[in-house]
């Protein structure tokens, strides 16, 4: 498999808006050349959950946004062409209620011009991804990956995004990789609760040590499987922690909600230009 690996800095799913909202803060090149994972796209439009959808907690956010998205048709007609014109390397995050839906999404996206890769959302906290295909068991996520891989050209990456579940992460990563995932993205929101007890997912700096542990475990057990760290990346130090633990790239999510220029700053700091002085960002 010769799929190009994205990175080293990517925009995490669900935190880049439609792309347009990020552009003013994306730095001198705008979105050009930026590996951007879209919000999760489903076959049919989803309005998202009721408010409040996001609350702040120490060190992070608890969210139950509910995957609001315009559905595949509308995405293909509007958001995707815009992102392609803006020069982004578009990785479409997909989520489905059945295996057939995942396959369908992958098939139709494989024919859409400008799709650099797919990210398969196989780790949303259950209640947050209400109505999605049940992927709690590694063999479930693996069969989803296999179904997607069958429909999507092998020269383009399929990323499997797993929840940072320390007890099962290696197992999950192994089965997704064997099923054809190009890389494993470690770090979805961690199952959590809103202050009123409603189910949600925790993201932000609070989950960084958990996701980092998972990346390290995967890298130790499966050194040949590319991993992408996601969870609490907000500055050079937190990004380097993942890269040092063996990740080949990092995704920036919640930090963009705190400071929309985070990706621009990290891109500048981590760009491979030899003259680039790695400066500490915030």
């Amino acid at each position: 498999m010769s799929a190009h690996l994205p990175g080293p800095v990517m925009v995490a799913a669900g935190c880049g808006g439609t792309g347009r909202e990020l552009e003013p803060y994306a730095g001198p090149d705008g979105l050009a050349g930026l590996d951007l994972v879209t919000r999760s796209i489903t076959l049919d439009a989803r309005p998202g959950g009721p408010g409040p959808r996001v609350v702040e907690v120490p060190g992070g956010l608890v969210n139950a946004v509910g995957l609001p998205n315009p559905g595949l048709e509308h995405f293909l007609a509007t958001e995707l062409p815009w992102l392609v014109r803006a020069g982004a390397r578009v990785h479409v995050s997909i989520a489905g209620a059945t295996m057939g839906e995942y396959a369908d999404l992958a098939r139709r996206l494989s024919r859409a011009p400008g799709v650099a890769g797919l990210e398969v959302n196989v780790g949303a906290p259950d209640e947050v991804g209400a109505g999605l295909f049940e992927v709690r068991e590694p063999y479930h996520s693996a069969s989803v990956i296999a179904a997607v891989r069958r429909e999507f050209p092998t020269d383009r990456p399929v990323l499997a995004k797993l929840r940072p579940d320390v007890s099962r992460i290696v197992e999950g990563a192994r089965s997704c990789h064997e099923a054809g995932a190009t890389a494993i993205v470690v770090g979805n929101a961690v199952p959590a609760a809103f202050p009123d007890g409603r189910a949600g997912g925790l993201s932000g700096p609070a989950i960084a040590p958990v996701a980092l542990r998972c990346v390290a475990e995967v890298h130790r057990a499966l050194p040949d499987v590319p991993t992408i760290g996601c969870g609490g990346v907000h500055d050079l130090r937190s990004a380097n922690a993942y890269l040092d633990a063996g990740a080949s790239a990092v995704q920036v999510g919640t930090a963009l909600l705190h400071d929309p220029t985070t990706v621009a700053r990290l891109r500048a700091a981590l760009s491979p230009r030899p003259d680039a002085r790695p400066e500490e960002t915030r």
């Binding site: 808006g17 003013p24 803060y25 998202g48 909600l257 400071d259």
Partner: protein, 285 residues
Amino acid sequence: MADERGPVHSSLHPSVHVDGEVVATKRVGGYRHLTLTAPGVPERFRAGNFVAVTVAGHVARRALWVHRVRASSAFGPTLDVVVEARGSGTEWLAAQPVGARIAITGPLGRPFALPKDAVSCLLVGEGYAAAPLFPLAERLRERGCAVSLVVSARDEAHLLSALEARRSARSVTVLTADGSVGQRGTVADHVEDLVRRSDADVVYAAGPHSVLRSAAAAAERAGAWSQVAVETPTPCGTGLCHGCPLPVVGEDGVERVVRACAEGPVVRGDRIRWDALPDALGHAQ
């Protein structure tokens, strides 16, 4: 103004994320007024836009209404915001001294749509959220509109700048729930009468949802347009997180949920599905 009444088709204008500085701060009644420099923000501002600030030690950001913009001052262009300290984030903001640096993003959101002609406008605001009506009143007056302003609050300490408002408004009505100053009562009690007396073609409202709703309903009954500035918790303020759902009915008659920070905060009052928008949306501040 037919083609300007739509809430959701003013184009996204470029916003910036900059380091600003507190250049003045004063307590006014129950609020803290901050004057900030934010290179590029005052220049791009249109009435109804807001700004979001990054609060040290917090992940979510705080959205602030802009009360006044000065094109030039001893510090260059500045903007004034009004803060009501209601939690650790807003308390931090209210406590920032002169000279403090604050990361500011703005201007954000869709501003008020302005009428093309010199029509009669009623502006209804409550509490600190009435702030965007003040720059709006100035724009409207420049266009020759007859501006009537209503400022309301629970008591005198939470009334926003009624005196200053007299500069831009033809008439100013002050309402307090406890009757401590002005007329006693709420917007809901008086708005019907105020719309009729001002013979308003357009009603603009800013404040809690109950105020927006009664103003929009009174406008509709009087055959006037309404534009309301909705305040909803906005964890990012920039349209990235989809955390600020606003239930509306689109131009096509289809019910949908939009982002209050990106497709709002100003929308047409008759487009909001009020029943799907609880008045007590947790204003986590």
